[in-house]
Symmetry: D3
Subunit: 288 residues, 6 copies
C-alpha cells in the first residue's frame, strides 16, 4: 500500500465490472476454440514513453479470470517507462491470457495515460516554482478513485475527492451568501472541514483573507494577476500571522503556461485536462 | 429510443455509481449551506464547437438526485453544437442543481468529446470514400455502452461489443490454429457468429478469403497495401460470387490518413483513439 | 476454459445469489445442530441417464460456503451419465456439505436437464442430416449464460445471445420497413452485424435472398416447405455465388420431427423447449 | 398485494437482471431501426390452456424499459386461461414493446408453466382427499420467490422457503443425532421454529411422534404405507391430545398417484416437479 | 459453523460495505504515509467485561483489505471476556492493520455489545425460571443476520427472522379478522407455518387456545397476569392434550423484571433492547 | 435538502436493503391474509421525549413498498418531540402499512435515538462553553451516512467521514514518523487536506503547534489539562498569529463531564457514545 496505489476494493469492483462488460453472455468465444492446454508467456511493452499506472488493475483482471495466471512487474506505478522495454510479464493459459488481455490493457493504458500527462504538467510547473499540480472532480464517471491514484503516480496531488470532503464556495454560492457570511456559516456547521473560496479578483481575495478562508481559488487569472494575489496574501499573512491560505490557480493552466503560473508563487495549479483529456498510453501485451 | 441512444438501464446504473462517487458520505456540504428555497435556471453552453452526446445521462443525474428539477434540451445526441449557444436548460432547486452539476457534466463532456472526435474521423474518412469509421473494444472500463452510443452519435459505427459477440482470430490464435482450420472450427462451433480474421499481408488475406471469413482485418497496412487487398478481394468475389468479406483497416488510422485509407475501397477503418483518447468537450452549466 | 464452460463471473454471481436465497437470514439452522467436527464424503449420483452440465456451479457452491470442502468430478460437462454411477465426490465438513447441497444440486439438476433434452434433440436431428439444433432467447430469467453453456454441453449451438448481438427482423419489423429496406438499413447502421430475416413463405425468402440477408428464419414451415426453401436458396446461391445464407427452421421442431426437418437440408433447427421446458435431471448427493 | 403476488422488490430485481441480460451492451439494435414514432397495441394470448402467473413481472419489464408503455390485464395470477383469448394488452412505442417483449414473456411463460403444472397436481390431489400440494426448495436458482408465488397461484402451498425458516432433520442428520435428541436439541436452540423430521417407516414415525415433532416427512412410502402412518399418528394424537403433527408424503408423487396419496389422509404432498420440471406455458404477444 | 456463527455470505457483504464506507475515495491517506515495510503485532483487548461476538466479521475485515495479515483468536463468540485480557491478535503490515482497525472494531464492539446485554437479560431471566430471552425484528437496518447471531452468542434465542417466516397476528390484524378466523385462514393458506397470536388479556388467550394457535404473545401483562395466563394455558393443555402453545411475554421486560416474568412459567421473554439499545462493548486494538 | 438530511441515494440503498431483510422470500405472509381493500390511517407517536431523525428513511420505506401509501410529517429532523404527540401520519392500504411498518420504525427509532442522545451531549456541553460535540468513525457498519445526519439533527457536528477525508496521526503513526516529520509529509503529499495530530500531553501539543497542525486531539486529558492546553495554544497563536488550531478533547467525555470540558475552551468534544451506544427512541405507529 504505497501512496500511488488505489485502495483494493475500488480495484476489485472496477475490474469485475469491466470483465463483465467484455465477457457477457458467452465469454471469449474465440479463445474457447484454442487447445485447452496451450500456454503462453507475454510481456507488457509500451509503444511510447510515459509514466506507468494501473498495474494493480491489470493484475486483478487476470486474477479474477483465472487465478492460475501469474503476473509480475518490472516497474511500479509512477515509474517512467520507455518504448519497447518490458514492464511486466504474464504467464499461464493462452486462452486466459487472451481473454483478460483487453480488460487489463484498458485499465493500464487509460491510467498510464493519466499519469503520463500529469507528469508533463508537473514537470512543466517545476520549471517555474514549487507549485503542485492539482486534479479536479472532472473525472471519468466510475473511475474517480483509480484516476486520482494515477494522478498521484504522475506526481501531482489530489484536490477534494467529492462534494462532502470540504466546503468550496464558488461564484454561485457566494452570490447568494456573501463571502464573510459563507465562511462563517461553514465554520459553524462544518468545523474541521477546509473552507475554500473562489475569488475572481483581488478584492474578492481580500474578502476571503479577511473571512479566514483556508484556501482561495484564483479564477481565470493571468500569471501576473496571480503574482499580485500572492503578494496580497503574503502581505496579509505577514500582518496577521499564521499559515498563508492555500492559493490555487484555476483556468488557463496548460503545459505551456504551467511554469509561468508556478513562478507566481501560488501553491496549486488545478487542471481538468489530466483526468478528462489524457490520451491513452499505448501499451501492448506481446506473446513471446 | 433512437439509434444514438444508449439503453436505459446502462444510463441508470452508470449515473447512480457516479453520483455515489461524488456525494458519499455526507452529500454536498456546500450546497447544504444555501437557503433551502433558493431556485435557479441554468443553461448548458459549450465553450467549443463539437458534437453532442450524453444528454440522457445528464438528464438522469438530475432526476436521480431530485425529481423536481426540470431538464430540457435544445439539441439531441449527434447534433453539431457551437460555442456559446444554449443546448439545454435546467431549472429547479439551486442546491440540487449545484449538487448534480458536476456529475451531469462529467458524462456530457466526456461523451460529447468522444462524439466530437468521432465526427472528425468520420468527416476525414468521407473525403476519401465510403468507408465507415469503426470503434474498438479499447473503451474506458465501465463505460462501454455509453461510449459506443457516443460513437454512433458521432457518425461512426460499432465494432464487436464484447468477446462473445463474434469470433475474431488474431495472430496469436492463428499461430496455434492456422487460418482455414480456425475458420472451420468457428463455423462448426458457433454457426450464426460472424467470423473475422486478421491478415498481415495479401497471402494471409487470400487464405482468409479461401477459408470463407466474413470479415478480414488488414493489419497495419499502408493505404496502398490496403488498395491491393481490396483488389484481391474484389477479384476473388468476382470469381466466387457473393458478398465480398468486410475489409477493415486497423493500425495507422489518423485524421490525417483516414481519407487515404477510405480511398482504398475498404469498408471499415477502426481506431481506438475515438474512445480512448478523446479530449472532453468543454461544456459549462451557467446559472442565469 | 472449454467450449462447454460458462464464463467464471457468471458462475460466481449466480451461485452467490442462489446461496443467499437459501441461507438468509440465519443460515442452515438444522446443520448448526450437528457436531461441529463431523465430516462426510458424499457422491453425486444420477437417478436417471442424461447429459451432465453445471459442474462448475456445483463446485462453486461448496467453495463459496466453505473453501475447505473438496469437490472432484469423474465426468465433465457434456458427458453422458448413467443412473447409479458416481459422477463426482464431495468431502469435508458434514454441516457444510448438507448446507450447500441443495444449491449445488439445483444448478446441477436444472442445467443437466437442459443438456439432456438438448442431446435428445441433437441426436434426433442427426438422424436426418447435418442441421444443428439452435437455442433461442427463451431462457430462464437470470440464467441465460448458464443455460447457453448447458446447451453447448448437450451438443447444440447458440443462437443470438441478446438483442444487441445481431439484427433480426421479424414480421412486425418487416411490416413497417419492408425486407429490402430493412436489410439495407441494417447494413448501413450496423456493418459487421449478422442480418437475419424472418420469412413466412418462399416469396419472402426470395426477397430476403435478394436483399442479401445472412440468415433466414423459415417460420412455421413443414419439412417439405423447408426443403423447397433450401432448393430455392441453393439455386440462388448457385447463380449468385458466395455462401448460402443460413437457413433456420423455427416452429414445430420436436424430437419427433427434428430428423425430418434436418433432412430438408436447412442449417439450423431452433427450439425453445431445450431451455424453457427441460425437466430437471434427477441427481442426488449420497453421503457414504 | 394478494396471496398469489410475490413481493415487489423481488420482482424489481429479477426483472432488472433479466433486462440487462437481454440488452447489454447496445440495446435492441433491430428495434433501433424502426421509425421512432411508431406505436402499437399488442395482446398477450395463450396458445394453450393453463393457469396464469407472473403478470407483475411482465408489467415491470415494460415499466423499467419505458414508463410510457401502458400494460393492462384481463386476468390475474391464478386465473385459468384458455388458448386464444386475450389475457392482457400492451400499448405504446412499437420499439419499446418489441424490446421488452421477450423479457416479459420469459417470466410470464415460465411462471405460468409452474402455476399450470401445480394446478394439475392440486386438482389430482383433490380427487382423493384434502391433502395440499407442497412445493420444495428444489427451485430454479435466483427465482425462488417468484416460483413460490406461482405455486400459490396454481393452488398449492409453500414448504419451507429456505434453510433458516424451520428445522428439518433428514436421514443424514438423524444418523448422527438420533430422533429424540435431535428434536430436543431443536426445541432448546430454536424455540418457535417448526421441527420437521423425516421417517422412513412406522418405527421412525413413532419415534418422531414420541419426540414431539411438529411435522413428519414420510419418505418414499406407498399410499398404503402412508395410510398406515396416518392411522398411527391419529391413534397417537387420540391418546395424547393436541394437533396431530403434519404428515407429508415425499417421493413418488405424480399426477397419476396424487389422488391415492391424498386419500391416505396425509396433510401434504410434496413434489419438486412443479418448480423444477414445469414446461413453459406458451403465451404470445400479438401486435394488432 | 457453530450455532453462534452468522452465515458466511452475510459477513462478507456487510464487511465489504463497511470497508467501502471507510475507505472511499482515496483509501487511508494517513497510513499511506507510513514506511511501506513497517509491520506490527496488535492485540484485541476489552476495556470492560462482556460477551464476545463478531469475531468472524473482524477477521473478514482484515482479510478483505490485505490477505497477508494474520488474525487469531483466544476466545470464540459467546465467551465471557474480562477487561484487559487479550482476546485476539493481529499481525502483519502496520498500514493494513491501522487501515482495517476501525472497521473490524465497529463490528466487534457493536456485536459484542449486543451479546453482552443479551447475556445480562438471559442471566436475569435464569434467576426466575426456564424462560428463554427472545429477540425481535427490531434490529439495526442491514445487520439483522449479524445481530441475531450475536443474540445467540449472548445466550438468547431468535424470534421470527422476517415477515415471511411465520404468521403473526397482532391487534390490527385481529381487529379485521377475528382470532378464530385468522388462525383458520393461516392454517389453510400457510400450512407448515407457525401461527402466533397476540392476546391482550385472558379472554383473548382463551380464544387463541381454542383456535389452536402455536404461540401466544401476552401483550404488556404483569408477571402476575402472565402467571394467570400460564395457568389457563396449562389447564387447557391438560384438558385437550398436546404441547402447550408457546407463551411469550412482550412489553415491560427489563433486566430488573426478567426474573419475575420467567417465574411466571412462560416460555419466552421478548425484548427489543438487546438489539436496538445495546451499548457497544469497548474493545481496543493495541499495537504491541 | 437541509443540513440535517442525508443524501438521497444513501437513504434509497439502506431502505432497499432493510426491506429485503424483512420480506424475503415470501413477503409479509400475515398481511397477505387481510382483505385486499382494507385501508388505514396510522400515526407516528413517540412514547418518550427525544429528538427526531430518520424521517426520509421512514418515508422511503413506504414509498418503495407501495407508492400509493401517503406519508406526511408534522415535524422535521432535528425537532424535539414529546411523548404522545403525533409527529407524522401514514395512510393507504392496511396491508402495505403493516408490512413496511417495522422497517420504517427501525430507521426512525435508531436514528432518533442517535439524535436524542446527541442533543443531550450538546446541551450538556453548552452549559460550559461554546465547544461543539463531534462524532467519530465509530458508527454502525453500513449506516455511517445516516448516523452522521442524525448527529447533525441532534445539534452536533461531524468529524472526518472516512479515512480518506483528512490526515489524522495517532500515537502509532507518530511513533514511527515523529510529529514534525509526519506533518511535513502530510503537507507535501496531501496539500488541501486538514492535518490532525494526537497529543497526549503539553509537550506533544507544543510539537504539534510548532509543526503547524490544523487540529490537535488532546487524548484523555482532564478538563484542567485541557484548559492548560488551550492556554498553551492561545499563547502560541498570540505569538505566531493565524487561527488557533482546532483543539479536540477525546476520551472521558460524558454527559456529566461535557460542560467542564467545554469550559476549558477547547473547540470540539468527541464521543463515540452518540453513534455506538445510543438507545433507540421508542416511537410507535398507531392505527387510528
Amino acid at each position: 500500500m504505497g501512496i500511488a496505489d488505489p485502495y483494493v476494493a475500488a480495484v476489485r469492483d472496477a475490474v469485475a465490472r469491466a470483465l463483465a462488460e467484455d465477457l457477457a453472455p458467452l465469454g471469449d468465444i474465440t479463445s474457447a476454440l484454442l487447445p485447452v492446454d496451450a500456454t503462453a508467456v507475454a510481456d507488457f511493452i509500451p509503444r511510447s514513453p510515459g509514466v506507468l499506472a494501473g498495474t494493480t488493475c491489470a493484475t486483478e483482471a487476470f486474477a479474477q479470470l483465472d487465478a492460475s495466471v501469474d503476473v509480475s512487474w518490472a516497474a511500479v506505478d509512477g515509474d517512467a517507462v520507455v518504448a519497447g522495454e518490458v514492464i511486466g510479464t504474464v504467464s499461464g493459459s493462452m486462452a486466459s491470457i487472451l481473454t483478460a488481455e483487453r480488460t487489463a490493457l484498458n485499465f493500464l493504458c487509460h491510467l498510464s495515460g493519466v499519469a503520463s500527462l500529469t507528469r508533463r504538467f508537473a514537470d512543466a510547473a517545476a520549471t517555474g516554482g514549487d507549485a503542485r499540480v492539482w486534479d479536479t472532480r472532472k473525472t471519468t464517471p466510475g473511475l474517480r478513485t483509480l484516476e486520482k491514484a494515477a494522478v498521484r503516480a504522475g506526481g501531482a496531488v489530489n484536490h477534494r475527492g467529492n462534494l462532502s470532503e470540504w466546503v468550496m464556495f464558488k461564484d454561485n454560492h457566494l452570490a447568494l451568501l456573501g463571502i464573510s457570511e459563507a465562511v462563517a456559516s461553514a465554520r459553524a456547521t462544518w468545523p474541521g472541514k477546509l473552507v475554500h473560496v473562489e475569488a475572481a479578483d483581488l478584492d474578492q481575495l481580500a474578502q476571503a483573507l479577511e473571512a479566514g478562508a483556508d484556501a482561495v481559488l484564483l479564477d481565470n487569472m493571468t500569471p501576473e494577476e496571480a503574482k499580485a494575489a500572492v503578494d496580497l496574501a503574503d502581505e496579509w499573512a505577514g500582518e496577521h500571522g499564521g499559515r498563508r491560505p492555500l492559493l490555487e490557480c484555476s483556468g488557463g493552466i496548460t503545459i505551456e503556461t504551467a511554469g509561468a503560473y508556478a513562478a507566481s508563487g501560488v501553491d496549486l495549479l488545478s487542471t481538468s485536462q489530466i483526468t478528462q483529456s489524457a490520451p491513452a498510453l499505448d501499451i501492448g501485451l506481446d506473446i513471446r
